[in-house]
Amino acid sequence: MYTFQIYTSGTDVKHIMPISDTARHGQQLYQDNNCVACHQFYGLGGYMGPDLTNVISNRGEPYARAFITAGSARMPNFGLSTAEIDALLTFLAFVDQTGTYPLENYSVSWIGSVAQVDDPQ
């Protein structure tokens, strides 16, 4: 029952726009280049680079595009084509709308639990 809940209503996030084919392609590129080795979504993944959950809304698409296109001291240039970079950015924008990480507006109860004030759920 618990597992079924997680597979269905427990993770049925209504506000998320359906994923597009371009975002799906970006998701595949994210995996093919093993981006998880260095980056995180919701704090889950590698630690070499920053968390990317809200990179689009916090830094803007041009900022993310510049890093993916040219690389940096800590990140290699993966030699992606413009279409691939667009797809990757579309995927990051898709992830961005799923929620906020790290939390910005929250309250802590006396038992130590945390409630997100602007929880999209």
Binding site: Q5, T11, R24, Q31, G49, V108, S113, Q116
Partner: protein, 451 residues
């Protein structure tokens, strides 16, 4: 070569596990240097070294634990293996798949999933070999008509749940899961948490088996406390994963369900070993001094990791520790301090049983040196990760590069202690590998003569 000697396969698994661990640690050290100096060994990107490190170390846990089970059942529990040949097949499938995974990593072909960064097609032989292992295990232990000791239950549960959770970790291949980012992450981390619980079942079962054998008394393996540990571990395995996902926007009750769950398992495990330790006579401690030493180290690391786990499972603290190196300290502290110490206890228990005088006569000083080097280094390593995690936890999100520069001294301490820890473990592993080879040699010879 396929030997019909029932104990041969288990020893080969353990040897391969030691090799995987030694190589996995080397890639961990390379990754540590790349963390500090991104231009270090640029041909071997961090996207390759990290999965090499993670996969090799996880493989070593499975290999040594599985090897112990394949060895203990026929050799000491006096249960004839259902199929000796299936053990060989299991070994060769594991080895061949492992080599294919390494080739994929080095050539840059990834599946890109945390923990399992290889193409998912390579999971098929892993599934196949696991089914063989499961059938072989249950068909073997069912010969024992008496009530099972707790370690049989733990091993069996670990086998079944690995199959279930490994399957679950591949649900992302189905668009229904993959297209919903929140569901995708929740199911992924649910499966990973439970998967870790499944290998903990294999490792804790091994620890209780060795403790029982060293004390020469079966009561720990049949005690209420041991079965409490088992049921609690099972509960934990199913529900204790959610502290990874407190801040993924799923239903609130799912996010907070495991708040208290994951705290209890380690405590009881620690208590059992502690009680067992105080019950031992000096001659028993001396006779199995290496296995005993590793088990006690595991027990101490249980308490250290328990303290950290308690803190990071409180959502108010998790808010600052999640996604930082404190999580890495928790993962590595548990993997190295608990799992590896227990599995090395298993290796040296086998060596003590099969070659009673070899360790004392030849390498007890080197082993002691390796043991203390590894453990002191692990303490520094663990502390450095916590300090680096605090540095990242208070990071305000402004400049990632500045934050990384700020925690650089801790990362330097982490990397250097990683080097000395690797040296300590290599000394231990070299002697373990070498001595296990001495056990295998006559078995191999007699099998060849029989052929």
């Amino acid at each position: 070569m396929i030997s019909d000697d029932p104990s041969f396969g288990g020893l080969r698994f353990m040897q391969l596990g030691m090799v995987a661990l030694a190589i996995g640690m080397l890639f961990g050290v390379i990754g540590g240097f790349q963390f500090l100096f991104p231009e270090f060994l640029q041909e071997l990107l961090f996207t390759k070294t990290r999965p090499m490190h993670v996969s090799m170390v996880i493989a070593s846990i499975f290999l040594i634990a599985i090897g112990g089970i394949y060895f203990y059942l026929p050799r000491q529990c006096k249960l004839a293996l259902f199929s000796v040949r299936a053990v060989s097949w299991h070994y060769w499938i594991f080895l061949t798949t492992g080599l294919a995974i390494i080739a994929c990593y080095l050539s840059g072909k990834f599946g890109g999933r945390e923990y399992f960064e290889f193409p998912p097609i390579l999971s098929l032989p892993i599934f196949l070999s696991w089914i063989m292992f499961g059938v072989n295990y249950f068909k073997t232990v069912r010969q024992d008509k008496k009530p099972w000791p707790v370690y049989y239950w733990m091993w069996g549960t670990g086998i079944v749940f690995f199959f279930i959770t490994y399957t679950e970790s591949h649900l992302w291949l189905i668009p229904y899961f993959r297209d919903n980012m929140v569901r995708e992450i929740m199911v992924q981390w649910k499966s990973y948490g439970a998967l870790t619980g499944s290998w903990n079942m294999l490792v804790y079962g091994t620890a209780l088996y060795i403790a029982t054998r060293i004390s020469g008394c079966d009561k720990y393996a049949r005690s209420k406390l041991a079965f409490s540990l088992y049921f609690l571990g099972l509960f934990n395995l199913m529900f204790g994963w959610a502290h990874h996902t407190y801040f993924v926007p799923s239903e609130t009750w799912i996010r907070t369900f495991a708040y208290f769950v994951s705290m209890t398992e380690l405590y009881i495990f620690g208590k059992i070993i502690w009680d067992w330790r105080s019950s031992l006579e000096d001659w028993q401690k001396n006779r199995y001094c290496n296995a005993y030493r590793f088990l006690i180290a595991a027990d101490i690391w249980v308490f250290v990791n328990l303290g950290l786990a308690l803190i990071i499972s409180v959502p108010a603290f998790n808010l600052f520790t999640h996604g930082t190196h404190i999580t890495v300290a928790h993962a590595m502290g548990s993997t190295i301090g608990i799992n590896m110490m227990v599995l090395l206890a298993s290796v040296f228990y086998v060596i003590r049983e099969e070659l009673p005088n070899e360790v004392h006569a030849n390498c007890s000083r080197q082993l002691r040196f390796g043991f203390w080097t590894a453990n002191i280094s692990l303490a520094v390593f663990f502390s450095a990760l916590i300090l680096a995690g605090i540095g990242k936890g208070v990071y305000d999100g402004a400049s990632f590069q500045e934050m990384m520069t700020g925690i650089r001294p801790f990362l330097l301490a982490f990397t250097l202690s990683g080097v000395s820890m690797m040296v300590g473990f290599w000394i231990i592993l070299w002697h373990g590998f070498r001595l296990m080879g001495k056990i295998i040699a006559p078995v191999r010879l007699s099998a060849a003569q029989a052929a």
